[in-house]
C-alpha cells in the first residue's frame, strides 16, 4: 500500500532535491514513450516477417526490412531470471537501490531487461510487462504480476512512475463547478490526505460553497485564476504543500467567430489560458521545489483541456481557441516540469454534461466520469487522457487525418 499520508516534515533537514533517470532516447525509442503516455505497451513489429523486436531500431533484426510497425502488445510473458541491483553511478538510481530487475521473455518472442514489481513471484514466473513513464517522462518497462499492478505493488519504482492521489494533498482550482465538485469527491474517495477547493467570487452561489465545505477532508480556499494577486496569495499560503494541482477552472460559452465583440473570447482566454499561466507562475516553482520531498512529494499537475484543443469546433470557436492556447502552454509546462520529474497530465474530454452543454446532444461525459478518469489516470501514471466516447472518437479521427476531421467539424 502507498503511504496514507506524509509524516510531518522535519523542518531542520534540507529538502531533498529532485533527480531524474537518464532521459535521452532515440527518435525510434520515443515511440515507446508516446504509447506509454496513454498507458499502452507498443513494440515494433516487422510487416515483412511479422517478428516483434526490442529495443527499437530502424530496421528488422530478422530480415532487415524497414517496414516496421508499432503494434500494441499485451506484455504477457515470463520472468526468466532476476537480480537485485545494489549500485549505480546515476544519482537517481543511487537514491533508489536496491532495485529488483530481471530478464523477461515475452510470449511474442522478445527478451527485455525490465524493472520487476515487488509483487511478482520469484523467477521463473508468469508476468505482464507494462510501459510506464519514469521521472524523466520516458517509457520504462516494468514487469507486474499477470493481473497487472495490484495493491501489493509496494515498490518505490512503481510509485515514482505513478501519481496515486492516496495520501497526497491536492488543489482543485475551481471547486464550485460541476467538474470541481466531482473531482473533489473523487480525490477524497481515492484517499487523498487533503483537498483544497478553490472558490472564486464567493458572493455567487454560497450554497455550492457550503456544500463543499461540509465534505470531510475538503477545505475551501479563495482562488480566482483571473486575478494574479489571488493566485499569488493562495500560493503563498499552500503552494509549499500542494502535491497535485488540478486546474479545472473553465469559462465556456458557445460563440462562433464573427460574433459581435471579443469580450466573451477575452473572458475565456482570461480563465482558460491566462489563468493557467498565472497558476504556473505562482505554483510552478513551489511544486518543482518539492518534487522529491518525501514519499508523497509534489508529483503532478493536471490540466482539464478539451478534445477540441486538437481541432477547433467552429460553433464554439473562441472556447476551443482558448483551450488550444492552454494546450500549447501545458506542453511548455511539461517540458519544464520534466526536468524535475513532475508529471503534467493533460485531460482532453469531449462535451461535459454540465449547464453550458445543456443543449449539446449526448453522448456527454458526466463530471463524475471525468473525475474517475483523472484519478485512474494519475494512478496509472499516464500523461494524456481522452476520457469518454466522443474524445476517443475525435482522437482517432484526428490521428487518421487532421484535415478530414477539420472538414467534418466545420458544420457541427
Amino acid at each position: 500500500m502507498s503511504p496514507s499520508r506524509s509524516p510531518p516534515k522535519n523542518p531542520v533537514l534540507k529538502t531533498r532535491e529532485p533527480t531524474v533517470p537518464p532521459g535521452l532516447r532515440s527518435r525510434a525509442a520515443l515511440r515507446l514513450t508516446a504509447a506509454a503516455c496513454e498507458g499502452r505497451l507498443e513494440l515494433q513489429r516487422c510487416r515483412a516477417c511479422s517478428a516483434f523486436q526490442y529495443p527499437p531500431r530502424e530496421a528488422c533484426t530478422q530480415c532487415l526490412s524497414t517496414r516496421l510497425e508499432w503494434t500494441e502488445c499485451d506484455g504477457v510473458g515470463e520472468l526468466i531470471s532476476e537480480t537485485i541491483l545494489h549500485h549505480s553511478n546515476e544519482p537517481y538510481f543511487r537514491e533508489r537501490v536496491p532495485l529488483r530487475v530481471g530478464l523477461v521473455r515475452l510470449d511474442v518472442g522478445v527478451t527485455i531487461v525490465a524493472h520487476v514489481d515487488g509483487a511478482c513471484a520469484p523467477a521463473p514466473a508468469r508476468i505482464r510487462l507494462a510501459a510506464h513513464l519514469d521521472k524523466s517522462g520516458q517509457a520504462a518497462l516494468v514487469a507486474h504480476p499477470p493481473e497487472g499492478p495490484t495493491d501489493m505493488t509496494t515498490s518505490q519504482t512503481h510509485r515514482d512512475m505513478t501519481c496515486d492521489p492516496r495520501g497526497r494533498k491536492i488543489l482543485v482550482t475551481d471547486g464550485k463547478s460541476e467538474t470541481g465538485e466531482a473531482l473533489v469527491k473523487a480525490f477524497i474517495a481515492a484517499g487523498a490526505d487533503k483537498v483544497w477547493a478553490g472558490v472564486a467570487e464567493p458572493w455567487k452561489d454560497a450554497t455550492a460553497i457550503d456544500k463543499l465545505a461540509q465534505l470531510e477532508g475538503v477545505t475551501t480556499v479563495p482562488l480566482d485564476v483571473t486575478d494574479a494577486r489571488s493566485v499569488e496569495a493562495l500560493s503563498g499560503l499552500i503552494g509549499g504543500k500542494v502535491d497535485i494541482l488540478v486546474n479545472n477552472a473553465e469559462f465556456h460559452r458557445h460563440k462562433p467567430v464573427g460574433a459581435r465583440g471579443v469580450e466573451t473570447a477575452r473572458a475565456e482566454m482570461d480563465v482558460n489560458y491566462l489563468g493557467l499561466l498565472r497558476l504556473i507562475e505562482s505554483f510552478g516553482p513551489a511544486l518543482k521545489f518539492r518534487a522529491a520531498d518525501g514519499p508523497n512529494g509534489a508529483c503532478a499537475w493536471v490540466n482539464i483541456l478539451s478534445v477540441y484543443a486538437l481541432s477547433a469546433l467552429p460553433s464554439q470557436a473562441t472556447f476551443t481557441a482558448s483551450k488550444a492556447a492552454a494546450f500549447a502552454a501545458s506542453q511548455a509546462l511539461r517540458a519544464d516540469m520534466m526536468g524535475v520529474g513532475i508529471r503534467v497530465m493533460n485531460v482532453f474530454p469531449g462535451p461535459i454534461d454540465d449547464a453550458w452543454n445543456q443543449t449539446v446532444p449526448p453522448p456527454k461525459l458526466a463530471p463524475s466520469a471525468l473525475a474517475a478518469a483523472v484519478v485512474a489516470s494519475l494512478k496509472a501514471g499516464v500523461e494524456d487522457v481522452y476520457p469518454g466516447d466522443v474524445a476517443q472518437d475525435i482522437l482517432a479521427r484526428w490521428r487518421e487525418s487532421a484535415k478530414v476531421l477539420e472538414r467534418e467539424l466545420a458544420d457541427q
Binding site: E201, W203, T207, T226, S230, T264
Partner: protein
Amino acid sequence: MTPSGQDLLDRMAGALARRRVRVIDLTQTLSHSFPSIVLPPEFDQSAPFRSEPISRYDADGPDWYWNNFSCGEHTGTHFDAPIHWITGRDDPRGATDSIEPSRLIAPACVVDCEAETAKDADFLLTRDHLLAWERDHGRIEKGSWLLMRTGWSKRSDATLYQNFDETGLHTPGPDLSAVRFLVDERQVIGFGSETIGTDAGQAAHFSPPYPCHSLMHGAGRFGLQCLTGLELLPPKGALLITPPLKILRGSGSPLRVLALVEAAD
C-alpha cells in the same frame, strides 16, 4: 482681495488650508477583491479590477514601477453617465466625454436610512420618506445629488455586501415614487448609493424595471455607486466633486468622489 475683486476662490483656498473646509473622500479603494455587479451568466460580465505589473524596479524596468490595470467602466466607486441606459441613449451630452463639466461639481443631500436598512436589506426609499426628510432639513434643491446612506459600505465582507440568495441580490434602493419625485419634482442631478447599483437589489422585478437607471438616465441625470463615508457628510451643505474619466463615448467610469464640507466653528 485680488486686484479684480474676485476673491471667492482665494477665500476657498484659505479655508481649505485652514481646514475650515474639509475634504472628505467618498471612494472605495479600487482593488482586485472589491466585488463587481453580477449579471445572469449568459450575459457578458463587467470585468473586475485587475492590475498586473509592467515593471517594479526590475529587469523589465530598472528604475520605475508601474502597472497595467483593467476593469469595466462600472467598477468600484463609479459614475453612471446617461447613455449607460437605453432610455438615455440619445442624450447628446450624456457620455463621459461630452458631459458639461459644470455638472461635475454639485451640492449633496444625504438621506440617512441606516436604521431602516439594518432591519430590512430590501428597504425601499419612497417619496414619503423624502418629504419627511425635507420637513427636517429643507427642500432638496434643483441640481443637487440625492445620496442614500445605508451603511452598506461598512460591509467589508464581499458576500455580505452583495447579499445574494436564491432570489438574487438583496440591497436597498429607491422605489418608483422616490425616483419620479427626485427627477420631476426636485430635478436632482443624480442619485448616489453605497451599494453596487443605484437601484435596489430586487429592482429587476419593479415596474418599470430598474426605475432609478431608467428614469434618471432617461432624464439626463447621473448615478454614483459604491460610495463610502456618507456618515461623514451633513444632511445638507456638502459639495461633491465627481468627474469621471473622459472616456470616448464612455457609459461611466471609476472615479474619486470628493466632498467639501464646512467644518463647524
